[in-house]
């Protein structure tokens, strides 16, 4: 279980607990549950936009990493 911090620099900062083998889509759903937006409107970025079907482990997202939260 890792905890990922998502910050959209407009005041919304979320810490989400998830597994390393979760996909980005799952992570987005968890974020959406906490922030109140729709998960398909969320864009996660860390120098590159993360694709929905790749797992967190493949993206080497570790515990405590800060991800940028954007909206589309």
């Amino acid at each position: 279980m890792i905890e990922v911090v998502c910050n959209d620099r407009l005041g919304k900062k979320v810490r989400v607990k998830c597994n390393t083998d979760d996909t980005i889509g799952d992570l987005k759903k968890l974020i959406a549950a906490q922030t109140g937006t729709r998960w398909n409107k969320i864009v996660l970025k860390k120098y590159t936009i993360f694709k929905d079907h790749v797992s967190l482990g493949d993206y080497e997202i570790h515990d405590g990493m800060n991800l940028e939260l954007y909206y589309q």
Partner: protein, 789 residues
């Protein structure tokens, strides 16, 4: 770091209780990040910071966990170097406690607003709702060192690793050697000999031993067989062994195998080796035999065909619609993809009895196909031929000459010798070109009176057409005076009779015409004139009785009445006759009627007026010539309002001033005493009557064309006016272009392409009267009719 010192004091005062507070950190670490120059100091206080942390745990109710994460990074960077061994252990203990506490109080953190987070249970609930598996909680705890509490990893000793690898290799090599030796040990070397080779006694011994063993083995086998028989297994065993003998492969076993080549590719007298085609291990399909060389050749041919780039699809290929066997070939859509979708289906044939194949069936099929093809009828009709304008001799034959219906006439033979002299006048008659005219009417002739005299027998008025004349039915002639004194003959030649008839007729006509020609041409003229006069008189005579009896009203007469007298009438001098007539008639009128003279005059005037063509009025433009003519007429009559209605336009504010010339009004120049006198400097107050008045004010800005402006554009307008300068050339051009594009966009039709393609297609459809449109076609269908729109 002044604040840090403050904290130090506070924390020490607070006590050393290791409260299971939230994992809030001190304010110090964030300061580490902010004041990078104080890094050394942060390093120094890092050690003590660790101790302080346990004290500070009770504080930090407001500390966001987000900060903790950020701090962790900072801390890891700065503190990593200074970890003492004591700290990790105690920190690990504390960390677990802190983590527990953190989870418990995590929910309270959500209200902090810094970074919201859910506890594990809540997260698991959410995940269950979303359909994800729950969090793996244990994984992280076992890991040595998260980001927050990094622990030194085990030192990777490369030397030790290498040694281990070497050991492993050695062991493996030794093992191999051992095994080899074992195997080789069994083989006899040259030096070693069996004793029984040289010594007979030993040999005898050996042979006896062998024999013994053989006997023993036989006994054992017998025993086993008996046992098998007991159990009833012997038959099975025999079958097994028996089958193996039978399984010797021979040609008869090849029956039914498929060979995946066309039978034509095998030539007589050639030997070709066929091998089993590769297939997957788990595939249960039957075996297929192929020849490797043939396969390659076929593939090469296919590639050559593909490279030729033949068209995939011939849209108008009307041939090949019938199969070889004279059956309709089913035409599938997109047949070029069938190979890709369904897979390749190569030619193949099966081997028959004894592993042979002779292709007899195929040859038979070919013969049948050829036969059917010969029998088949082509549906293509003969193409259109150019029709000849003249009848061909063949068609002439089909015409049947219709014989004239000739009645058998019993007549006395007329011994009339036909001479050439008699025929002469006939010749003239046939050349007469006067075949009558419609005007004169059928049958009406000037010489009608004369003819009537001449004709003893009243006949229907003969027409001018001499041919018609000649076509009189022979019956009438029969009634005529039979030629006297001619010997009676029972049967006569019909053609001669006819000839006689025609001759007589012709003679008669000629006589009449001669008589007619004797008349003077002058008489004719007189006649014509008289006729004309009679016609005219006829009209006027018609009028007179009308006029005498009643007053006639009609639109034209009323119109003319309104016109009034024409003072210039008759001055041109063209109207001598008419005037006389007019006078005469006027006198008549007056004497007769004495009534509405003006009317009479009018009427007279009009009746004679009608004959004239000159009018004093302008010629009215002919209205049916077009809209322009009609408009001109209306305009002349004053029916049109020519003043253009001015549409109420919004008075636009001043146009933006060009940037070249501008001046800024200086309002501070109004400083003279006299103008300032008018200003009111007193107290102003809102009107009490207008207390409840809350108007809904909506301020709209418009540009010079009347369009409503967006706030941005309005502001731009304002600033232009304020600064006294407008945009430059490029900017205004761009703006104009944008406005034009917007206008175009509005005008664009929403249901059609900009070029009106849909409308065009529909028109074409209507013209062709088909529900479809042929977009393109082969050369056959393109002709002049279809190319034009």
């Amino acid at each position: 770091m002044g604040s840090s010192k403050k904290h130090r004091g506070e924390k020490e005062a607070a006590g050393t209780t290791a409260a299971a507070g939230t994992g809030g950190a001190t304010e110090q670490p964030p300061r580490h990040r902010e004041h990078k120059k104080h890094k050394h100091r942060s390093g120094g206080s890092g050690g003590s910071g660790g101790e302080r942390r346990k004290r500070s745990r009770e504080r930090g109710g407001e500390r966001g966990s987000g900060r903790r994460g950020a701090e962790a990074e900072a801390r890891s960077s700065t503190h990593g170097r200074e970890r003492s061994q004591a700290e990790p252990s105690e920190r690990r203990v504390k960390r677990e406690k802190r983590d527990d506490g953190y989870e418990a109080a995590a929910s309270s953190k959500t209200s902090s607003g810094d970074a919201s987070s859910l506890s594990i249970e809540e997260t698991n609930k959410l995940r269950a709702k979303l359909g994800l598996k729950p969090l793996e909680v244990n994984a992280i705890k076992k890991e040595a060192g998260t980001k927050e509490e990094p622990v030194t990893a085990d030192v990777i000793n490369p030397m030790a690793l290498r040694q281990r690898e070497e050991l492993r290799e050695k062991l493996a090599a030794a093992k191999e050697k051992r095994l080899l030796n074992q195997k080789l040990g069994k083989i006899k070397t040259l030096g070693e000999d069996d004793p029984w080779l040289d010594d007979t006694a030993a040999w005898i011994e050996r042979s006896r031993q062998l024999q013994k063993e053989k006997d023993l083995a036989e006994k054992r086998a017998k025993l086993l067989e008996e046992m098998d028989q007991e159990f009833g297994v012997s038959t099975l065993v025999e079958e097994e062994f028996g089958q193996r003998r039978q399984d010797l492969y021979s040609a008869r076993d090849l029956q039914g195998l498929t060979v995946e080549h066309a039978i034509d590719s095998f030539r007589e007298g050639e030997t070709m080796i066929l091998t089993l085609k590769d297939k997957g291990v788990l595939q249960e399909e039957e075996d297929v035999l192929v020849n490797v060389n043939l396969v390659d050749k076929e593939r090469a041919e296919k590639n050559v065909e593909l490279r030729k780039k033949k068209p995939d699809y011939l849209p108008y290929a009307e041939d090949e619609s019938v199969d070889d066997l004279a059956q309709q070939k089913p035409r599938s859509i997109l047949s070029k993809y069938d190979e890709e979708l369904e897979g390749e289906r190569p030619h193949s044939f099966r081997l028959e009895q004894g592993g042979t194949a002779d292709g007899l069936r195929e040859r038979e099929l070919e013969e049948i196909r050829a036969k059917l093809r010969l029998q088949a009828q082509s549906l293509s009709t003969v193409g259109p031929r150019l029709a000849s304008e003249y009848l061909t001799p063949e068609e002439m034959v089909t015409f049947k000459k219709t014989k004239r219906r000739v009645k058998k006439i019993r007549k006395k033979e007329k011994e009339v010798v036909v001479r050439a002299d008699d025929l002469l006048p006939l010749g003239d008659q046939t050349q007469d070109g006067d075949f009558g005219s419609r005007l004169r009417g059928r049958g009406r002739r000037r010489v009608s009176e004369v003819e009537e005299e001449k004709e003893p027998v009243p006949q229907p008025l003969p027409s001018d057409d001499t041919r018609v004349e000649n076509m009189d039915i022979s019956d009438e002639e029969e009634g005529g005076a039979p030629p006297p004194g001619s010997p009676q003959v029972l049967e006569e030649d019909e053609a001669e009779l006819e000839l006689q008839k025609q001759l007589e007729k012709g003679r008669r006509l000629r006589q009449l015409q001669q008589l007619q020609q004797l008349r003077d041409s002058g008489e004719k003229v007189v006649e014509i004139v008289k006729k004309l006069e009679s016609r005219q008189r006829g009209w006027e005579e018609d009028e007179d009785p009308e006029r005498k009896g009643a007053i006639v009203f009609n639109a034209t007469s009323e119109f003319c009445r309104t016109l009034g007298e024409i003072p210039t009438y008759g001055l041109a001098g063209n109207r001598e006759e008419q005037e006389e007539l007019m006078d005469f008639e006027r006198d008549e009128e007056r004497s007769a009627n004495g009534g509405s003279e003006s009317d009479g005059e009018e009427n007279i005037g009009w009746s004679t007026f009608s004959a004239s063509s000159t009018t004093i009025l302008d010629e009215e433009p002919i209205v049916n010539r077009g809209l322009a003519a009609a408009l001109l007429l209306c305009q002349n009559k004053g029916l049109l309002e020519t003043t253009v209605q001015k549409v109420a336009r919004v008075k636009a504010p001043n146009k933006s001033l060009p940037s070249a010339v501008y001046c800024i009004e200086d309002k501070m120049a109004i400083d003279d005493k006299y103008s300032r006198r008018e200003e009111y400097r007193g107290f102003t107050q809102d009107f009490k009557e207008k207390d409840g008045y809350k108007p809904d004010v909506k301020i709209e800005y418009v540009d010079e064309t009347g369009r409503k402006l967006t706030p941005k554009e309005a502001f731009r307008q304002l600033s232009h006016r304020f600064h006294g300068k407008g945009s430059g050339k490029m900017k205004t051009e761009r703006r104009m272009k944008k406005l034009d594009e917007e206008a175009l966009l509005k005008k664009m039709s929403s249901s059609d392409t900009p070029l009106g393609t849909v409308a065009l297609l529909q028109e074409k459809q209507k013209a062709q009267k088909t529900p479809y449109i042929v977009l393109s076609g082969s050369g056959k269908s393109m002709n002049a009719n279809t190319i034009t729109k």
